[in-house]
């Protein structure tokens, strides 16, 4: 056994025991020798200092007085077991244990034990190193690490520390939350492997580190856990002592959407102004067409007495002329031309009225009219990006729509249009075998009217349904929807009209929105309605 020191050989080098004990006296570690039954035979000055006993106090005592009670109690049996089985547990291994000071306090030590034999008498020698200071330093270091973690956790940005090899060294709570991966999982992983979408910036990272300059990328589109979002990204290189870099990611999706909305609103406003001017310009020629038709019609008919006189001047028989016009459908053609002018002007009028939703006014309106116009808009609304065809959807209407309610007509139209549009978009994914269908069902009781809009589309999961009325929540790809539609609908129904809007859906079961509106328009309406 190589760890058994042959003292006889030892003394050959160290001429006599005095010299050996001199060494033991001077050694920087505590040295304690015990005999086979555990009694202390030697106790050097460092051991004296560590445990607070003088050598004379402990010589002959059982070593267990230097141990914590639980270990001390068992020590005799450990010795006995070793003497019988020769199976080492601590011998020649060394480990961290606790020592007990004379005053009862406990302190960490590193203990290595060797077996000694002197002229057939066995004993053990223990070398003891005080770990208190090291432990305190370790604690301080780990506190510093925890403090650093606490600092980066307190920030709302996602912060990721990486070393020069691209291995993640730091990972804050925001990163954990957004990536769905806790710190223990992330640290030690390769940055680009873990976040493949950031592959596009791995060159930036290398550059930032090499040139020691921060690099910024704004509004990059990233996909995290299947969710696409816009992020601002900063790469801050660490100083050369550490190498590596800190990557900061901020989810700016909401800000980007807000900008989109502002751009959209601005565009709408300018279109509004343009459309108002255009309406005037178009209505003038329409006026010429329409009044022109009426003039022609009247001058061809028997209505005007002077027609007869003028016809006679040219030897024309006005009654025969009437027959001719009837046979040739002249009056029908004229009235159709007039109708077309009327329709063209109505389209302009309605479009303008619809886009001017900034003015809220409650008026009495027939439900049928509201639904008609919303359907009319839906049919004419073709968003190129979404390109669904509303005309292919089967519309079924149930219930008596001949109900008058007081509401902000444009706002309610907008809500209905939004819901119809959503349904149409959702049903785009239907197979060819299924005919897309929207059921509109109207009912009423004494104070309320209820409008149901149900489609046979794919429905929604409860997760989606729960968030559907949230501002900026959208299931559409970034850029193709603002996520404001349904939150605005919710606002219009619940706040402006003091009604309710509910959603009944589950995957594969279609989607049904149920709107309930007070017939009198709620209190907002009552104060508004009387004015005008």
């Amino acid at each position: 056994m190589k760890d058994v020191i042959d003292i006889a050989n030892f003394t050959r080098f160290w001429a006599d025991g005095v010299r050996l004990s001199g060494v033991i006296e001077k050694i920087a570690d505590g040295v304690i020798c015990i005999n086979a039954s555990g009694q202390i035979e030697m106790f050097n000055p460092v051991a004296e200092r560590l445990f607070g006993y003088t050598s004379s106090e402990v010589i002959g005592q059982n070593i267990s007085i230097l141990m914590t009670d639980d270990v001390g109690k068992k020590h005799d049996s450990y010795l006995k077991r070793y003497n019988e089985t020769r199976e080492p547990h601590i011998i020649a291994q060394g480990r961290e244990v606790l020592g007990k000071h004379r005053d009862g306090s406990v302190f960490p030590i590193y203990l290595s034990v060797g077996e000694v034999q002197v002229s057939g008498i066995k004993g053990f020698i223990g070398i003891i190193r005080d770990l208190s200071e090291q432990k305190a330093a370790d604690l301080k270091l780990s506190r510093a690490g925890e403090f650093l973690q606490a600092i980066i956790d307190s920030m709302s940005s996602m912060l990721i520390g990486i070393d020069i090899y691209g291995i993640i060294t730091h990972w804050n709570e925001a990163a954990a939350k957004n990536f769905g991966m806790d710190v223990s999982e992330a640290i030690g992983s390769s940055f680009t492997k873990l976040l493949p979408f950031l592959g596009i910036i791995s060159e930036d990272v290398t550059q930032a580190i090499e040139k020691s300059v921060p690099i910024k990328r704004e509004q990059i589109l990233v996909v995290i856990r299947g969710k696409s979002l816009y992020a601002d990204l900063m790469i801050f290189p660490l100083n050369r002592n550490f190498g590596g870099a800190v990557v900061r990611l901020d989810d700016v999706t909401e800000r980007v959407r807000m900008q989109e909305i502002m751009v959209h609103t601005e565009k709408m406003l300018s279109i509004n102004g343009l459309a108002a001017g255009m309406a005037h310009e178009i209505n003038n020629p329409l006026s010429v067409i329409s009044v022109g038709c009426q003039n022609v019609r009247r001058r061809l008919s028997l209505e005007l007495a002077k027609n007869k006189d003028i016809a006679e001047r040219f030897n024309l028989n006005i009654n025969q002329m009437q027959e001719y016009f009837q046979a040739q459908d002249i009056f029908t053609l004229l009235s159709k031309t007039n109708d077309a002018a009327d329709r063209a002007s109505n389209i302009i009028q309605k479009t303008l009225a619809y886009s001017r939703h900034n003015i809220s006014s409650f008026i009495q309106v027939r439900l049928k009219e509201l639904i008609d116009s919303a359907l009319d808009f839906a049919k004419h609304d073709y968003d190129l990006q979404e390109s669904y065809d509303f005309c292919h959807i089967k519309i079924q209407r149930y219930g008596n729509e001949d109900i008058k309610i007081i509401c902000d007509r444009t706002a309610i139209q907008q809500v209905l249009l939004n819901l119809l549009r959503n349904s149409a978009q959702a049903m785009k994914g239907l197979g060819k075998a299924e005919i897309p269908q929207i059921d509109l069902r109207v009912s009423m009781d004494s104070n309320w009217v209820q409008i149901e809009i149900a489609d046979n589309g794919p429905g929604m999961s409860s997760d989606v349904a729960k968030r559907i009325f949230e501002k900026f929540f959208t299931t559409k790809a970034v850029g193709s929807g603002t996520g404001l539609g349904l939150s605005v609908a919710h606002f219009i129904i619940t706040q402006q009209h003091q009604g309710t809007i509910d959603l009944i859906t589950s995957p594969g079961q279609g989607t049904k929105f149920v709107i309930r509106l007070p017939k009198d328009g709620g209190s907002h309406a009552r104060s508004n309605f009387n004015r005008g």
Binding site: V288, Q294, K306, S345
Partner: protein, 125 residues
């Protein structure tokens, strides 16, 4: 003296067609291509009972025209004939206190409605 009407509109086609229709109703019709022209003629002694005025005119606006004619000839009735959208017109008229004036929207696809309005003024007299 026959009942006379002045139509103010910057679109010749609109003037011609309205005039034709109303003349067929045996009304005396004058036309003006601008607010300035309308005022000039009334100032020069043209006597009309009713003015049909477009709101969006080149030069002086329809509203200004109405206010000025009203100063010259307070008994004049006014009818607004506009291609602009209802709501914005209503807002503007309300702001200048002219919201009690009848508004006819272009295109007048049913001229008899305008004729009965004119008739009502004459019967009232």
């Amino acid at each position: 003296m026959p009942e006379a009407i002045l139509i103010v509109d910057d679109e010749q086609g609109v003037l011609d067609n309205l005039a034709t229709y109303l003349e067929d109703e045996d009304l005396v019709v004058y036309t003006a291509r601008s607010g300035e022209e309308a005022i000039r003629r009334i100032d020069a002694g043209l006597n009309v009972q009713i003015c049909i005025v477009d709101l969006r005119l080149r030069g002086m606006s329809g509203i200004e025209t109405i206010v000025k004619i009203r100063n010259l000839a307070p008994q004049t009735h006014f009818i607004i004939h506009t291609g602009s959208e209802d709501k914005s017109v209503a807002t503007v008229l309300q702001r200048v206190g002219l919201d009690n004036l009848p508004v006819f929207r272009k295109p007048l696809t049913n001229m008899s409605a305008l004729v009965s309005k004119l008739q009502a003024y004459y019967d009232h007299k």
